[in-house]
Symmetry: D2
Subunit: 289 residues, 4 copies
């Protein structure tokens, strides 16, 4: 008889519920940190509560794993869960999957391997799709014109820039991609769109998506755009648009972070599950031999 | 000196403001039936109020032209306008453009030509784009999954079905089009998508767009779909989905009518302007000779 | 026991062999007018030779059906076949499918229904795909530059124009469609490409596909194009390009007729089979009731 | 007065003529190693023959630079050119651009910088487009069916795999991409196509493009494919298809190397010119400061 790995999905938003649903197809799963109502019809198999005393092989913590007070992040639960409770449910040599690295975790889960699934390139690649779809949804909601025929600038031809390009080609937008070098320009060509160098951006666009995490749109450049242009910034941390200048100049800017979880929680949860599953598979391949 | 036609845009929602803006690029326009605030920065030239006593050559009435009490439809105006006021501002042999035929108009604008711009095929074709974009926006808002990889059924391969197909190919959806005959199937093939006959629809779709104005989804067929399937009905009048059965069976159905005006009022207004302009041009060509 | 229709595929090029192969999946078929070597591995079931004396319900004649001397068109056969031979193999009330109407057929197959499958709209629609693919192949072969980024003009947004548009979007060409009116322009917009009125064509294109069967490129217009521009004319009969002027001016023109049979004989034969099958099905539905 | 760099384009096929034409727009160019007839109308400025005695700043050698006997590779020239002749025309500290590294060059051009433009990533990226277009042309020529609706496998989702995917989506092919890992699968998803792991390839494809330079299709796997499947191998050096097994098993395989130069010599020459130009520009930026 095959012995399935036992995985505990602990806390988080709806994504983790869907993540649990997907993992339960392959593993022995249990869920903690959600009020009863959230299980509804989502996934029968996710409901399985902790019954026997056997310890879990892994825990899947959410994005981010802990709140400000150091408790498990549980936005869908009326009670508080101490992360040490989770630790006690795990094998001493268990694996802790987390959606963001956090120094406090190392202290809590001493002796266990801590693995940040958000850092896996495949997850970023997969998340590019819900990010791009969410950004396009924002554009559809905010703009009083059609995307068809619209002059659109996409800054960056990485994974999100590529996903946006593919979607907007379907809309029949007039797409230009801003790239840093000849390689980026060649990549734009492969995808059938025009390109411009990032340092030579012209300003007659009605919609601008930024996907690069370094300042591109400073005050002077922003000022040359029409007030009707909509900017959607998808880049994390500093972002590519100067917040203060944009506010001062009265530019329309949407800061679009964490789109995957908002736009497509089911897909987003499944992506987490697939990533956890891939990591476990790689490990088993490594150890099986 | 060229003598520009004088056009009065009378009443309606924001679309008519944008329509006026576009028409003012070519004609001598004036607007009536909007509170001052709606003009804001929309279009300088649209503001031109009626000053001199010269009569207008045409009036552009909104969609629909009159309200239940027979007054001009003016949702953006705090006062009421009697359609006879409009009549008095027109030449006795003027043209009345309307966004829906209405028997009361014939009575009011006696002796004038009444022309329903909503009936022009080019307008329907152009409106297919904002309709399709609006429907996709609804799908993005309603579904907790990405459109990428989603099993989608589009019923009908007319103008809206075609527009939806083009957009959803960009999203990487798994598209099937339901068609009535071999011609429809061949048309689907040209657009690179699979097809199925409307009377043999299978039910494993997660998203269904209906674009045909006759009943396709009756109780028995609806019942075979999953409760998670989202139905978006874009067809006017009877629509393609049995309303009562859908409600009784607890199916998720969105009735999406009048999307162009809601999703893309600027584009929508410009489409009306272009259509009015096309009609006037055809007439002048006819009479010039 | 179901009684399958008996169909005789008589003469023609390889398309008819593939047509027979497809029809044999559904009907009782036999083939006449091909040397043994052409059967090779093409289709087991197509080989079935005439054995019993039972008459056939239908005959499928090729495109065109007869040669100049009035014999069956049999380019893949070393012998000659008199069409009266075919007649004798048919039921007196049989159906004769032909790939082109020909007055001589009415005389020969007296009393039988003669049905031109090439006139069916679904066949034209389906043939638009091999036509467009063949035209693109010609462009790839003739041009020393990539289609990617190339300025291409497609004259006409009918079925072949649409098929070309879809293919060339994939190549990342810079596409403009020449259309006659506002409806054509709106259709181009739905397909995400620019349009120009046919009477206002500009001339900075490196590749031009003509799909409309009326003269568009007369001497004066041709003269304004660069000598490097490649013209591919897909329109039948008069075509859209003035042959003599093009020759005199030294323009590069490819007259691309009968592409489906040349580029994709298998697909082309299957399209004939599907059309014959559709016609038979419609008839049986009509008579069954 | 600006002092333009002097560049000598020496030998090679038609690509180098077009390369010279493009470079002459920016630099002072001269061409050596071509018979008069090849200049025809290709590029006025490329004709400029060596007149004054001033040495050149750079030489652009072809792909490959030398023939078996160590002479300059000059397939378009009736005479032989010794590479030392080229050396003498260059400044002692000149740059030698070559289309392949060759140990003999170091010996000949002692003291000069030798720079292999074929190794630049941007050139590979740009060449992916003519490679993919050439491969699609081969498929169109070889297959008796349309690419529309065809089951196609693309092995590898690198630059050529991506370019092929984009083109074949336009054709409406039924595309699967074979990838090595979760990242590849995610990348396929972004491009809207299905994927399969390279070690789990199923065999019901009618067309297979290989783009990876390591053996994928060994005897056993090849054997499971239909004899009608067309294989097109675009990978250099060992390639992905076992040559001997394919021959023994009677599989249809096309080895498609050097496509850019064959399919699109103009584009290909321009890509070389752009790359040389990019390299020179980077250098001048570095030294200008």
């Amino acid at each position: 008889m095959e012995n399935k790995l036992r995985i505990l999905i602990a806390g988080g938003d709806m994504r983790q519920i869907y993540c649990a649903g997907r993992l339960s197809q392959e593993y022995d799963t249990a869920v903690i940190g959600f009020d009863e109502k959230y299980f509804s019809d989502n996934s029968e198999s996710a409901k399985s509560v902790l019954s026997d005393g056997e310890p879990f092989d892994c825990a899947v913590l959410p994005v981010p794993p802990l709140d400000d007070e150091g408790m498990l992040s549980t936005p869908c639960y009326t009670e508080k869960i101490d992360p040490y409770t989770i630790k006690k449910l795990l094998r001493p040599d268990g694996i802790v999957f987390t959606g963001k690295s956090d120094e406090r975790l190392t202290e809590i889960f001493t002796g266990m391997e801590i693995c940040d699934y958000m850092k896996r390139e495949e997850l970023s690649l997969k998340n590019a799709i819900p990010s791009a779809e969410g950004a396009v949804q924002l554009a559809l909601e905010e703009l009083p014109v059609t995307l068809n025929g619209l002059k659109v600038l996409i800054v960056g031809m990485g994974r999100i820039g590529t996903a946006l390009t593919e979607i907007l080609k379907g809309f029949g937008s007039d797409i230009t991609v801003a790239v840093r070098n000849a390689r980026g320009a060649a990549n734009a060509r492969i995808h059938g769109v025009k390109s411009v160098r990032t340092d030579k951006i012209d300003t007659d666009y009605e919609l601008v998506f930024n996907t690069v995490p370094s300042l591109v749109f400073e005050s002077e450049l922003l000022n040359r755009f029409s007030d009707k242009t909509l900017f959607i910034d998808l880049a994390s941390k500093p972002g590519g648009i100067d917040f203060d200048s944009a506010a001062k100049l009265g530019k329309k800017v949407v800061w679009a972070l964490g789109l995957p979880g908002k736009t497509a929680p089911v897909t987003s949860g499944e992506i987490i599950a697939e990533t956890v599953s891939d990591i476990l598979e790689e490990r088993s391949e490594r150890y099986d031999v």
